[in-house]
Symmetry: C2
Subunit: 428 residues, 2 copies
């Protein structure tokens, strides 16, 4: 039996408490599996006195995460504070500087500072692991870096923000509008303190940026992503999409096509019969596509105490077992700079707008689209009670540039009563 692996856990929110619980409850199992006792030396959090429903008396207390990260009796620093700056960043840097392994659930930190942290960790010869940062309990980082290591990854997709998927499926099942469901979520405590992180697609974008780096061997580059939230999705969009056999998802897609690197976290239409289309509630799903393996779909809880702590412990067990590989699967120094595509892969699009109800309105819009070289698959005007007519258009495959040109030309027609909403129809 080797020496124990001693943890210092910073952050005792949901995930921190969950991690402590697993270590206490499954001590024998963890030792059997890793060949070492896994122990906690010290913890740190903002408030020492809060009752967290878990026994903490055996562990030393640090008020300061940096002090925790550099303690002599800590082998692995577990960062569960969150945020891409401040104490989380300072403590992770301090831990690496002090030669400690790091396990973190912090997607924002990795998305913004992943390259520098990975280089520092690899130079120091310590692990920097983050299974819990992406898709909660789903072991997707391991699947991508190890399970599909023999594949050239062609595309990564995913629904990776449970709150957004909950909102969209709740709108659909209850026929409620966005604002109503958003308020429900606020009341239920489902939203981040800054809800834009969820509904604006930022949190999910951080996750996609991390997956894309691993998938394509590029530096993490959050700024190279196109991010769009779900705030503009109406119950009409959801119902019209359903009527055509689609579901609307906040879907991340990253691919490295002949055109260069493309990564988007945007609301998309997906076929209702596809695994992504069938995903309901707060569950996450990641789709990995490789040249040999074809398509692998992983599904599970994307958040919550147990699932996220499970992912933290997977990393801790790997470290205890001595399993280590470069942070993003290849040495950080060899990661290439992202060459963003100048053009998205062509796609069919769904377009919704309101037109003033006057003769020839629809024809004018159709004509503007034709001038941009866009051919229309379906077009419908649906029930209305005022002088504004809601109109829905599904295009054939077209470039995003052509679509943007058409949308830019629409106001000049004089028939447009609302800004068009355009959603990509993703091929699965």
């Amino acid at each position: 039996m080797s020496t124990p692996l001693r943890l210092g856990i910073a952050g005792l929110g949901t995930v921190g408490v969950g991690t402590v619980r697993i270590i206490q409850r499954q001590a024998a199992l963890l030792t059997a599996r890793t060949g070492r006792d896994i122990t906690i030396s010290a913890v740190s959090a903002r408030s020492r006195d809060k009752d967290r429903g878990v026994r903490l008396g055996d562990y030393a207390w640090e008020d300061d995460a940096v002090a925790l990260a550099t303690r002599d009796d800590v082998d692995v620093f577990v960062e569960l504070i969150g945020g891409d700056e401040g104490p989380a960043k300072a403590a992770v840097e301090a831990a690496i500087g002090a030669g400690k392994h790091v396990v973190t659930a912090n997607k924002a930190l990795l998305a913004m500072h992943g390259q520098a942290l990975a280089e520092a960790a690899e130079a120091a010869g310590v692990a920097l692991r983050y299974e819990a940062a992406v898709a909660g309990g789903i072991p997707v980082i391991k699947a991508l870096t190890e399970g599909l290591a023999g594949n050239e990854i062609t595309r990564v997709m995913g629904v990776m923000n449970g709150t957004c998927n909950y909102i969209l499926t709740r709108m659909q099942s209850a026929g409620l509008d966005y604002d109503t469901v958003f308020k429900e979520c606020e009341e239920l405590g489902y939203l981040e303190a800054d809800p834009t992180l969820d509904v604006g697609g930022i949190d999910a974008g951080h996750k996609l940026a991390i997956l894309a780096a691993i998938a394509f061997g590029t530096r993490v580059d959050y700024d190279a992503l196109t991010i769009e939230g779900i705030e503009r999705i109406t119950i009409e969009d959801i119902e019209q999409a359903a009527d055509m056999g689609y579901r609307i998802k906040l879907l991340g897609v990253a691919q490295n096509s002949g055109r260069g690197f493309e990564a988007r976290m945007t609301p998309c239409l997906v076929p209702e019969s596809s695994p992504l289309g069938q995903l309901e509630g707060p569950t996450n799903m990641v789709v990995l596509e490789g040249d040999s393996v074809g398509q692998i779909v992983l599904r599970g809880a994307g958040a919550g105490e147990g699932p996220t702590a499970s992912a933290v412990m997977a990393d801790v067990c790997d470290i205890a077992r001595g399993l280590d590989l470069p942070v993003f699967g290849v040495p950080a120094s060899s990661l290439k700079t992202v060459q963003a595509s100048t053009q998205d892969t062509p796609s069919a699009y769904y377009l919704r707008m309101e037109l003033f109800d006057k003769p020839g309105a629809l024809a004018r819009i159709a004509s503007v689209m034709g001038e941009s070289g866009i051919s229309i698959d379906r077009m419908r005007q649906y029930g209305h009670s005022s002088e504004r007519a809601p109109v829905l258009i599904v295009t054939h495959k077209t470039s995003k540039d052509a679509l943007d040109a058409a949308i830019a030309a629409m106001p000049a027609t004089g028939v447009l009563a609302s800004d068009p909403v355009a959603l990509r129809i993703e091929t699965l």
Copy 2:
């Protein structure tokens, strides 16, 4: 850069050729990811002269797999011969004896001799890896041993024979009977040389035995499984199940309940809206449930050149990276002997039978069931054109013992015109 990792590949069927192709096509990528060149020293197969559509001239040829396994220029012996005895077993044993790592896709070998081989490999200090043996390209062995290492696994389920799932979904979609679809599969070359391996549930049973050992820390024990094939499933079963909102799947379930170890590979009813219910065609799906992570679902191609070779290469890459852990996740010597449950977890059951069309027939069957303490949820007699009336019964939750008792008592009623078919309704 470390020294190259040199492979000897035995068996040049679909998977062997797929493995050679990945190594040739993705050489640079594999080196970037593992830090080592991955090369092939030698290959072996039954026929040297066959054109396999892949360049083999650079590799030494061995007629004998054992000779290949023990070559000085082989670091990893890749066994893709198949079969639980004969050259596959002899060569794997020889490789371990010669201190070579082993990667295999051979589920039968692991299911029948996993314990002895794991002990030998661990004693010799070599890896014995088998990601490709279960669910093709889905990295399920890694998910279970590493990704969910922090969990006590509570249940493992899966659809792990693509041919059976193809047959069942094809029967449903085309309304064809079992024999017709079976013949189609024979003509398409979808079946093993001995089709019982597929439709009898044996191949899928081998896979479940392996997963169960990892999940519950027990010795692989194929004989402790209840195995039942899909041969008795009729188009009526499929249509009646669909009518009640279920799909029929050849489903593996292993759980370690308070009653002891239970593992079955049997046709079951699952809700059509569940991920398992929605699985169509030859795709595989594995469901892993843990005390912390909840439910994780993995889906992908369960067979075929690319997917299976992808799994072989995941193991090869792990070895190249120096990632190793005990064969079944904990040292083989610590694996416990299976304590098979004396009783299955209670469940609802679907029962189909034919009764002679005479007054009181249904009442007699209902009465026999009541005497065994089984309460009936639904009962229906459906369209018939002769003196035999097909009858369908769905029970409330009951023990398997009570069900077996009721079925044993049915012939004495004198109204039974065909043996009852009983299928478990699995809760997801």
